[in-house]
Amino acid sequence: MRGRARTWRKRSVLPGFGLSLGFTIAYLGLVVLVPLAALVIKSAGLGAAEFWRLATDPRTLAALRLSFGTALVAATINAVFGALIAWVLVRYRFFGRRFLDAVIDLPFALPTAVAGIALTSLYAPNGWVGQFLQPLGLKVAYAPAGIVVALTFVSLPFVVRTVEPVLAEIDRELEEAAATLGASRAQTMFKVIVPALLPALLTGFALALARAVGEYGSVIFIAGNIPYVSEIAPLLIVIRLEEFDYAGATAVAAVMLAIAFVMLFVINLLQAWSRRRFGYGS
């Protein structure tokens, strides 16, 4: 490369750009793109009319609506309370903080089926929590609310773990500066801290959402799985497979993939916008 007038990359002191980029592309291709491409090709073989029929089947639509709806609710809940937990863990030093910190990761480590079964037994009408909700007319287990509970549980760590380091980076002096300028605690919170956290919060939200949309193991235990009511899209895919209806399964999967991709893409754009808007980078 040396001595050539035109090179396609700048010379850099960091070695191995060509090698590591090549590896990155090959790895992403093998692990992510090939399986997804197979899915797309398989569904493309259905033909447009057939695909459209399968994709707009009322049961499929209900399942998709439920899956994305509950995932959005769960990710939103976590965005708020995950940020709060991150705040407590970063800002305060108290007895048991390390223990709490370790507890945050448990939803990562626990087999999701275990989580689902545990939550179901808690929220079932005769469970520890469910018995108090029952008289109030609140049905959690075997209803869409139960799905939200399960999804909230499994996607909690994403928000906490993405917000934590960014929050730790925010200088205390920023809050002190706001206070000397006369800002109340609430004003400091919403005009100074939250905007600074927004990009990280969006990342955490996106990760939690992606995780929640794809969640299967914990949901099937608590949802009750009633078609048109509490049957999530991943479960529908499994049901189609068990019926040897591979075309139907592929169609649902392809639609899920498309919606998830668009959602994550939009969140990415939002993030880029918020970074620019709030003066990061540049």
């Binding site: 200088d171 002096e173 706001a178 206070a179 006369g182 600074a196």
Partner: protein, 355 residues
């Protein structure tokens, strides 16, 4: 506004950061808190701001007791060493922040806030940069934005915590002069913290020299440099050499021998002088005798390291002339006498006699 500190103390985990300090700051005065790190100067500044709470004592803003007031109520302009700008806001929004968060009743309108922000940016010579974000500014520009932001709330007192500490030497000097001008134009009571004595002496009306949580001396640059009240101040401000001496019958003995210097009192004391305030004498004349142990060329002078009485090392400056360069080599004997010096008792801090 006058700021009066009455016997204030503050300890962190039993470590006394500020110990029983009393100080009266006059309205419109520019005061420097100067001291080595850990001397409590930043803590003192934060106590005035209300960012730390007093253990003991009172702080008066004018006639009002501000000790129990919150930061928000004290209405102080605080400038941090690392700027502490809100990086998600552009420059104009940063400057206008203090006005935007006011309660509705006293909050100016949007256009008024903007007008005030632009006016202040003009004052700190940053006109035209109001749409930039802090990340797009240089360190010196950021600190001026921070200052404009602090001035926007029309503070009772302006407090600056090592405001130029994070800037390079050239920018620091420019900003120093500029801050002095700004202070003369706006007349805010201003307290700033620094560990840079040159900065403190050049900028401040009065300098408060601090050490280990206590005030060593308060005075003008002349007072502090020419009449240091304690060995610490003498050693901390400017360059100093010191020797243990004995006072006997009105003369000062160095290493047991008369030095030709006179001083009242008796017993052990410590002699302080500036390396530059020294006359070289001919061998045999009565003065302080020693052996050259090192020699460094400074710009227009030569700095000699001299061992006196075997074990005590002092530094003196001599003119760098061709005829002295050969004579003053390592190992040669010299005799010198300080033109000006100060004596401090070994145990006390007050000077006994000024030359």
């Amino acid at each position: 506004m006058d700021i009066v500190l009455q016997n204030i103390s503050k300890a962190f985990d039993d470590y006394p950061a500020v110990h029983d300090i009393s100080l009266a700051i006059r309205s419109g005065e520019l005061i420097a808190l100067l001291g080595p790190s850990g001397s409590g100067k930043t803590t003192l500044l934060r106590l005035i701001a209300g960012l730390e709470f007093l253990d003991r004592g009172r702080i008066l803003f004018g006639d009002e007791d501000a000790s129990a007031k919150s930061v928000q109520e004290r209405n102080v302009g605080f400038v941090f060493q690392h700027y502490a700008l809100f990086k998600q806001m552009n420059v104009a929004d940063n400057v206008g922040f203090g006005l935007r968060v006011r309660p509705r009743a006293s909050r100016p309108g949007r256009t008024e806030i903007r007008r005030r922000a632009l006016e202040l940016l003009d004052l700190v010579q940053l006109s035209g940069l109001e749409k930039r974000f802090p990340m797009q500014l240089s360190g010196g520009q950021r600190q001026r934005v921070a200052l404009a932001r602090a001035l926007a709330i029309e503070p009772a007192v302006l407090l600056l915590d090592e405001p130029f500490g994070a800037l390079d030497a050239k920018v620091r000097k420019e900003l120093r002069r500029w801050l002095r001008d700004l202070h003369e134009r706006t007349g805010h009571t201003t307290v700033f913290v620094t560990h840079d004595q040159e900065e403190a002496l050049e900028l401040a009306d009065r300098v408060v020299v601090m050490n280990a949580g206590r005030v060593e001396q308060v005075g003008t640059a002349d007072d502090i440099y020419d009449a240091p009240a304690s060995p610490f101040v003498h050693g901390f401000i400017g360059e100093s050499s010191s020797l243990p001496v004995t006072l006997s019958g009105g003369t000062i003995l160095v290493a047991g021998r008369p030095s030709g210097l006179v001083g009242a009192g008796a017993g052990a004391a410590r002699l302080f002088f500036r390396p530059g305030h020294v006359d070289l004498l001919r061998p045999g004349e009565r003065g302080i005798a020693g052996v050259v142990t090192g020699s460094r060329r400074l710009t227009d002078r030569r700095r000699l390291e001299i061992a006196v009485g075997g074990s005590h090392s002092v530094e003196i400056d001599v003119p760098s002339l061709p005829e002295t360069s050969g004579v003053l080599e390592t190992g040669s004997e010299v005799v010198f006498r300080p033109r000006e010096f100060r004596l401090y008792g070994e145990s006390e801090t007050a000077p006994r006699r000024a030359a």
